[in-house]
């Protein structure tokens, strides 16, 4: 599955956490492009995504999952089917 389109469930979580509109959640949105996406929001987003899809990320990978597409790819690797 391509990363061109963000799955709606992931899009909605990130919109809630980052307090942006769902349309703003594009695959390219990242910690460096979103003003709101600081390290605490990142932790929040990680926890929210884990809770939503019932997965656990390796803590060493967490700091690297800094964009929507990276998060999506990681989830797909964990077998999440969107």
């Amino acid at each position: 599955m391509s990363s061109q389109q963000v799955p709606s469930s992931l899009r909605d979580i990130l919109a809630d956490i980052l307090e942006v509109s769902p349309e703003q959640v594009t695959p390219d949105l990242s910690m460096s492009t979103a003003d709101n996406w600081d390290s605490f929001r990142h932790l929040q987003a990680i926890l929210a995504i884990e809770g939503e899809y019932g997965v656990q990320f390796d803590p060493q990978r967490i700091p690297d999952l800094t964009s929507v597409s990276l998060l999506q790819t990681e989830l797909e690797k964990k077998g999440v089917a969107f």
Binding site: D12, I17, E19, L43, Q44, L47, E52, P59
Partner: protein
Amino acid sequence: MQSDAERQEIRGKIKEAASRQDAESTVRYGRELMETSGKPSDAMFCASAFAGIADAMKEQLGTRRLKAYVVRSVTVEPMVAFLATEAVLSNYFLDIQVGGYGSYIDEMLSPQSALAKFNPDTVFVLLDMEEMAGRLPELCADGIGAGVEEEIDQCVERVAQLLKRFRSGCSARILFQGLVVPDQTSLGDVGEANLPYSLTNAVLTLNRKLATLCRTLSDCVFFDVDRLAARYGRARWRDTRMFLASRLPVSAEVFRIYSHGLVRSFSALYRAPRKVLCTDLDNTLWGGVLGEDGPDGIATGSAFPGNCYLEYQKHLKQLSSRGILLAIVSKNNVADVREAFQLRAADLALNLDNFVASKISWNEKSDAIRELAQELSLGLDSFVFVDDNPVECEAVRRELPEVAVVEAPVQEPWKLVSMLSEQPFFDSAVVTEDDANRLNEYKAQAQRAELASSAGNRDEFLASLGIVCIFQSALQAPLSRAVQLLAKTNQFNLTTRRHSAAEVEEFASAAGGQAVVVRVRDRFGDAGVVGLALARKQGDSCYIDSLLLSCRVIGRGIETALLAHIGEQALRAGAKRLVGEFIATKKNAPCATFYSDHGFSRSALLEETQPGSIFYELDLTVSAPTSPKWITLEGNETHELSTSAVFSA
């Protein structure tokens, strides 16, 4: 969990209500979302929706807005949305600011700190073991404890210094969080349980001492987070991965439980507990319907399912012992209810005396609660209503929104006690002796008020009892019973003089003297000798030296009948004036107004001769007391209606 579509639908409703600035609906749907889904993104969603209606909440719901500063040694940021959301669901709007890691001493004590500048209403102090008592795990490792007590005491002393110094410079209310007992240690479960200085024991001791410390400070509550963790399961309370990676003290799955517990604890700093629990009877206090199943058919007692109701009754009795008033609000026949309480007394944990008041009628329950509020002089926001009937519950919610309503689960009666415990209505960090003594005080008040307001119904009820009073000379009844009554009766005892048998005989044998006992029975049975009066005649006055009644039969007009009997005898002996005396004790408040209630007027002249006594007098030639019409009298002449008496007649 519900489907994603449902979740999106609730979110849609929240958005829509928030855009209309409809606070009630926004909060209601927010609660629904948190209860059915409650994931981190939902909390975030609710928190931002609520933030947009802060003013509307204040106006429409009276939501209390508080500035809360979080002093911490752990990561709390991901929980802030949950904290804000749970606060709104308890009708607080929190403006939360989080302090730096490990800078709590400076924050709490420096007048230039971020905390001081924020000027909070309330401060949450959330420190973990590492920060508070970092050496404990090591000291407790062998379980025999060199230095454990010292470490605990030093920790408590440090916290005491911190909180006391903070308190002297800042009036913000404090929530101080205790420690969670670690789930796994090197000692293992057996060692933790058996060794005197295991970490488990050390943390429990430390928590207890910290709670004691919090009690000594004003506006400070101890948040026992270990209790929450134990209820949920300590093993799942912490996500070790996230604690080690991000110093997150609790796992994401318990954010909501944690926040709920924290909000519940700090609420005790801002809210007085509710004071009255109104309970329905049928399918609530007992199983079944009294009017259909009869007193023998209702479910209560030691066998299932009766014991579900017994548990509820015991719970109510425990609430009552710390000053929560109990009241019955039931659609029933009064006489049936009396009968049920009498016949099933052995299977019930409560008797009618445990209730401050009863509203048993076929009137609307909201009216009954309103009357109770008036009689007890308490606001409706002090009331909790428990009923199994959804229609009654809804009616009370609609008519009296201030009243907290609990719908008893009629199919699952075992759940009622935990449903009640989950609610914060009766939460209180302090209980005083006054609280514990509240019942009697309010009871007297409610009885007098009810007497005044519904004399009609009461007469009907009393008439239905078929009360018969039999007056006898104390010398004819067993004299020992008269003396026992004099010795034991406290509540309805006007002078509390503990006369001996010889003194009772003196009253009986003196010219114009009276020593009368009253024996009472009604259609439920014979209560035996329950009252006594002693009087002497001096000149044209009859002085009532003692008048008392067992508390079992107060409030049925028997006291009036006894007084009327004495008045009659006094007139017969040639007296024109009846003189009553009242000596107040700690326990006899229920009869303080006895003489004035019966038309007597104060007689100040006599009081000068007998300090401590209040005298009353009544002109018998103008208005002699009369016995209530619902009581059948059997006087001295006929003695008792015993079988032998019937035969001899």
